[in-house]
């Protein structure tokens, strides 16, 4: 089967084509990141994002089909991110996908963005259900058991900030810029993680929930103590603080994931894998620590390639393909869902909003 994927739920406009005929393949995977559009405002502006999605999406879809050398009539399915995310972009992606589906009577698949992240690993590796998933990105921080396509059990979530958000806020305090994850990672490489003792929120507490807002407060405190009168930090201080942030986040992720592994093994003795997905999974230091944890627990550690960790449409196309194989399609009347928890039975985390 050949499926077109469309992603427009935040600040990346993306279109991709994947196939499972003669082996799983990505035939095209194009992303337009709206960094320049939002940079003057210091964050994503929903109305600007929606305007950019409408402008960029149609030519991007045309280019993706061109790259894949596929015509619309040859598509077996049209998949799009139906939520969660910013409503303006979700609507642009949904209407474009519905229109394409209407022209050729192609099956339409509304994909949960988080399900895209959760299933991507099955596009690039052989991973059987069930598996334990740590989903870490700018908008999310969750531990889930992936039982099957469309069946997820949440073990833990952040109760305030997402982990990518923690990186972004720390990077801003250190004057490193945006997005924070890769900038902190680079600065941390030359730093001493032991010089600044930062807190490890939730570490040692029962359960699998995360919290990162206290870490941000501690970084702000440390910066105010060592900065000069003009608020500047010495390069050494920046490196040491970045290393301390990375180490603290790593400790939290390892501690919470260890709890989740214990639960996972108890409930799913046949489960074999720990999968890490989302933009933060691109951090090499964190990846290494989580790989070590998996090895010590007798689980295989699997993470998608870096380009499939950050937001993209190949993951939406793939999740759409997996759903299509099971006959899980959607109607032209589908209403985009700004909030759409993967595990509808999990209790909402009050401070985390859509991140949970």
């Amino acid at each position: 089967m050949i499926v077109l994927g469309i992603e427009a739920s935040c600040d990346e406009t993306a279109a991709a084509v994947v196939s499972d005929a003669g082996g799983r393949r990505i035939l095209a995977n194009l992303v337009h990141a709206q960094l320049a559009e939002h940079a003057p405002y210091g964050g994503v502006v929903p109305e600007i994002a929606a305007r950019a999605h409408l402008e960029k999406l149609p030519p991007l879809i045309a280019a993706a089909l061109d790259t894949a050398d596929i015509r619309f009539a040859e598509l077996d399915g049209v998949a799009f991110t139906g939520g969660p995310g910013l409503i303006g972009g979700l609507i642009v992606g949904a209407m474009t996908a519905k229109a394409i589906a209407l022209v050729h009577g192609t099956p339409l698949i509304a994909v949960n963005h988080l399900e895209g992240h959760a299933l991507t690993v099955r596009l690039t590796a052989e991973v059987a259900f069930p598996y334990l998933l740590l989903l870490v990105s700018g908008g999310h921080c969750q531990l889930l058991v992936v039982e099957d396509v469309g069946r997820y059990r949440r073990l833990g979530t952040t109760i305030d900030d997402a982990v990518g958000e923690a990186f972004d806020k720390a990077a801003k305090l250190l004057g490193l810029g945006y997005p924070g994850g890769p900038l902190i990672e680079r600065a941390a490489a030359a730093g001493d993680p032991a010089r600044f003792p930062l807190p490890r929120p939730m570490k040692g507490r029962p359960g699998c929930d995360f919290s990162f807002s206290g870490l941000k407060t501690a970084v702000r405190q440390a910066v105010s103590e060592i900065a000069d009168e003009a608020g500047r930090l010495a390069p050494r201080d920046v490196a040491d603080l970045a290393a301390a942030v990375e180490a603290a986040i790593g400790d939290c992720l390892v501690d919470r994931t260890a709890h989740a592994i214990a639960l996972f093994r108890d409930r799913h003795p046949a489960g074999r894998s720990l999968v890490v997905a989302g933009g933060v999974a691109a951090n090499a230091a964190l990846r290494a620590r989580l790989a070590g944890l998996a090895a010590a627990s007798g689980l295989a550690f699997i993470a998608p390639p870096q380009a499939l960790c950050t937001d993209n449409a190949a993951m939406i196309a793939w999740a759409g393909l997996e759903r299509l194989r099971l006959g899980l399609t959607d109607d032209l009347a589908f209403a985009p869902r700004p909030r759409w928890p993967l595990d509808p039975e999990a209790a909402p985390a009050i401070g985390a909003g859509v991140k949970a």
Binding site: P40, Y41, G42, V45, E47, I48, A50, R51, L54, E55, L57, P58, I61, A62, F72, I87, G88, I91, V92, G93, A94, M95, T96, A97, K98, A99, I100, L102, V103, H104, D331, L332, A333, F334, A335, P336
Partner: protein
């Protein structure tokens, strides 16, 4: 041709023939939200009713705005998706032109026409059409500024903000005649306006959003050092 509108408090779809006759029509009036759910099933219905495939259409026409920002994008994203997947030509029609196309010449009786579109804020989106059809530049104005902006003389008023515009103009002592067309643009007239422009050999309006107002965001304040 297939035409549709989602820019106002309503959603409509129409299939027309080359003479501008409506072969199938669907409308959902007084629709505050939910255009994204309603539009595509309506398009499928008019296509099925007339047994026309998208690929067999000669033209797709869509309202480009002004109106609700999200509504503008719903129609345009759908229109671009249809055109991209079918290869059918796509034309834009402004909300002003679509409303103006619905006004009966007898009803206008040589009066100039002011089309007033709801902006969902205090300001009103307006365009003025002289008796000979000459159109002014579109504008965004507070109601109180309308009387000074509109040329003197009796006016016909249409559009979903016509009542608000009429109240402001009458308060300023202007004579106005309210058209019975007080809703958002209708798909049939979107189609007829596109057809008329196409027949006249006009390049038409590009199928791009006509927001007529910048996003309501302000740039963050510069660091203290850069302030005066």
């Amino acid at each position: 041709m297939l035409a549709f509108d989602t820019t106002g408090r309503g959603c409509s779809a129409a299939l027309l023939d080359g003479s501008g006759a409506v072969l199938a029509h669907r409308t959902a009036a007084e629709l505050e939200r939910g255009h994204a759910e309603r539009l595509m099933p309506m398009l499928r219905e008019v296509l099925e009713e007339t047994k026309v495939a998208v690929g067999a259409l000669g033209l797709i026409a869509v309202t480009t705005g002004p109106g609700a920002f999200t509504g503008i994008r719903i129609g345009l994203a759908a229109a671009h998706g249809l055109a991209l997947a079918s290869g059918v030509a796509l034309r834009g029609v402004t909300s002003f032109a679509a409303v103006a196309a619905a006004i009966d010449p007898e009803e206008r009786a040589d009066r100039p026409l002011l089309v007033a579109i709801d902006s969902r804020r205090v300001d009103i989106f307006v365009q003025h059409f002289a008796a000979d059809g000459t159109a002014s530049a579109p504008a965004v104005l507070p109601p109180a500024a309308l009387a000074d902006w509109v040329p003197p003389g009796e006016l016909a008023l249409a559009g979903d903000a016509a009542e608000a515009a009429a109240a402001a103009l009458r308060a300023a002592g202007r004579a106005v005649v309210l058209s019975p067309r007080l809703g958002p643009p209708d798909a049939a007239h979107v189609g007829r306006a596109a057809l008329a422009a196409w027949r006249a050999g006009e390049p038409g309006v590009p199928p791009q959003p006509f927001y007529l107002r910048a996003p309501a965001v302000t740039l963050p304040r510069q660091p203290a050092a850069a302030s005066p």
